[in-house]
Amino acid sequence: MECRIYTESLTALMDGELTPKEETAIRTHISGCPSCRAEFESLDYSYRLVDQIDQIEFQPASWPQIQARLTTSSSRGFFSKLKFPGLWIPIGAVGALLLVATSLMMQFPEDHTDQTRQAFQSYMQERQQEMISRGLIQPTDRGNPIFVHYNPFADATARPKGNPFRSER
């Protein structure tokens, strides 16, 4: 049991992660315990083997590629400082479209309705005046003219000349 406690700390000993007090305790134990000493030496050997492997050579010459990516990202200006900058462009475009569409929808029907209404009213007034001038209707105080009784076929002998709808009294 005691050996197990010490062997579990052997790697920490080799990695320099123990306090001076802990280190002293383990070294004291190892010096007096053959099995722990054997374990220690075996681990130590593997440490040395691993220490011999080389590392990949790093080439700082690849920096221009990284710099190009950094420069591209920083030239976006405002949007580069926002999180998920790529989302803001489509969101902004959709928002602008919605704004334009809404304003068009709000404006166009009124103009259209007003124009149509005005044109119709103007036409009706013209027609009304024409019918009054022809005697087909009589204006009243109430505003709405009334139709004069008119039967264009009452006098069969009187052939209308020109406009058959002109009343002859």
């Binding site: 050997y45 593997s46 220490d51 590392q55």
Partner: protein, 214 residues
């Protein structure tokens, strides 16, 4: 050849490989968008990050791509680093996340390395270096064995083993990078070391314990 002081505790990497004041100045400059200052950070930490990713993935090409991604991401998010002194562990964390993102949460299987015709010829290049022919052969063999052993480690052991045994980071830093408690990291490193020892012993057979060291 063994050192006279058997079992001498190994020198750990300091928390930062540069002067803390200089690191602070460079990181602050980087936060202000100074690309030139950031290039110095790249020159200082590039090799560590490259090798860390290489040991996790087993592929040099992937390691170089992911290393570039790591530094680009680091520059863009430098403003989120609250303590400049923790730049190294923060950078390793980004590198690790990039690897896991690339491989969807699982470290890739590292294939056994052949001497020639392999994508991992980087390993052979590493080993040949400036050594003599006999040394180069032994070195290449050792490199293959160690890389294979690392590849066979479970994910969480592979991470801490590479950070501890190869990158020589402190347990505290490793704990910050992998996001686990100090006690958990200490235990995992011990188990990883024992497993690596057992596997190397298995591969080297009777040669284990012989003087392969130079």
């Amino acid at each position: 050849m063994r050192d006279k002081d058997r079992g001498e505790t190994r020198a750990k990497n300091p928390g930062s490989i540069i002067d803390p004041e200089r690191l602070d100045a460079l990181v602050d400059a980087g936060k202000n968008g100074d690309v030139t200052a950031f290039s110095q950070l790249y020159a200082l930490y590039g090799k560590k990050i490259l090798n860390y990713i290489f040991r996790l993935t087993g592929s040099r090409e992937e390691a170089e791509d992911l290393m570039q991604d790591t530094f680009v991401l680091a520059f863009r998010n430098l403003h989120s680093l609250k303590e400049n002194a923790k730049f190294q562990s923060w950078l390793f964390r980004i590198a690790q996340n990039n690897v896991f993102q690339k491989y969807r949460g699982k470290l890739p299987q590292i294939e056994s390395i052949d001497a020639e015709g392999s994508e991992n010829s980087a390993v052979t290049e590493l080993a040949s270096g400036s050594k003599g022919p006999e040394e180069a052969v032994l070195s290449a063999e050792l490199e293959r064995v160690v890389q294979r052993v690392i590849g066979e480690l479970p994910e969480k052991y592979r991470q801490v083993f590479v950070l501890s045994a190869i990158q020589k980071l402190s347990y505290q830093e490793i704990s910050e990078i992998v996001g686990r408690s100090l006690a958990s990291v200490k235990s995992d490193i011990h188990r990883a070391r024992v497993e690596v020892r057992d596997k190397i012993k298995e591969y080297l057979g009777d040669n284990y314990g012989m003087s392969n060291l130079h």
